[in-house]
Subunit: 147 residues, 2 copies
């Protein structure tokens, strides 16, 4: 691994592959993933860069592991638990364990962010029909949530 | 801990203290530290933001733990091992175990960067007089290194 990896275009790095966010599913839209520091870096965490295109969204999910997020590009909104927050570059977001979360890019801006996770972590789970109905009883969430 | 911590001024965050880089010493110059995600965040790593003012430098040191660095602001140069690299925003730097490293800001630009480390990590060590002499046999390093 070269000690220095240069940004070769905005938010694209030499030798780092732009991957799909997830292998399959229809519960997200227009999201890419780049692993900046993965298992090979020798840390107990992994640092990934995700980018949600204009109008896109990540999966609504929760898990035991924590997300530590640093917004780097564009603008959007983030659901954490039952609150929705506007975010912009260099805002920080922490998603606590077992807390529903979803990130949405603005219609006219992408949303790019670093997401730090433990290398050893559990798989996410998506809401059941009943959990989704419960979340949607809050009108603001009903209009925000994409599934 | 609030799920969202806003940037309130450039590279300054709500409720995050701007601390000295180290408690004491004359082996660094004009460096500040902000812990963005510390032990309380519940991750196996900690994410800190360091800023080296114009012309300043971090300590020349090495340790067993890895540094994963994302440059966020300004411009500068980084020594990793026996190589010096120019860096600018969004370049990535990995410092392998037991590798000498030092970061210097340009004379007219600060150098701000995220530095990711394992929460459980060893203490850094500085070069002995003999190690320093060995590093300084490389002319480029002799002019770069600040102690």
């Amino acid at each position: 691994m070269n000690p220095v990896i240069r940004q070769r275009a905005p938010f694209r790095w030499d030798g780092i592959e732009v991957e799909p966010y997830k292998r399959e599913g229809t519960h997200f839209r227009d999201v890419s993933r780049q692993v900046l520091f993965g298992a090979e870096a020798g840390l107990a965490c992994e640092l990934r860069y995700f980018e949600v295109d204009c109008g896109g969204h990540s999966t609504l999910e929760r898990h035991e592991h924590v997300h530590a997020i640093v917004i780097l590009r564009g603008a959007g909104r983030v659901l954490v638990g039952t609150q929705i927050y506007d975010v912009e570059p260099f805002d920080l977001v922490r998603v606590p364990p077992q807390t529903w979360h979803q990130l949405r890019a603005d219609p006219e801006h992408p949303l790019g962010f670093l997401c730090l996770v433990d290398a050893k972590r559990d798989a996410p789970s998506r809401p059941t029909k009943e959990q989704l109905e419960a979340l949607r009883t809050t009108p603001e969430l009903a209009t925000f949530i994409k599934t």
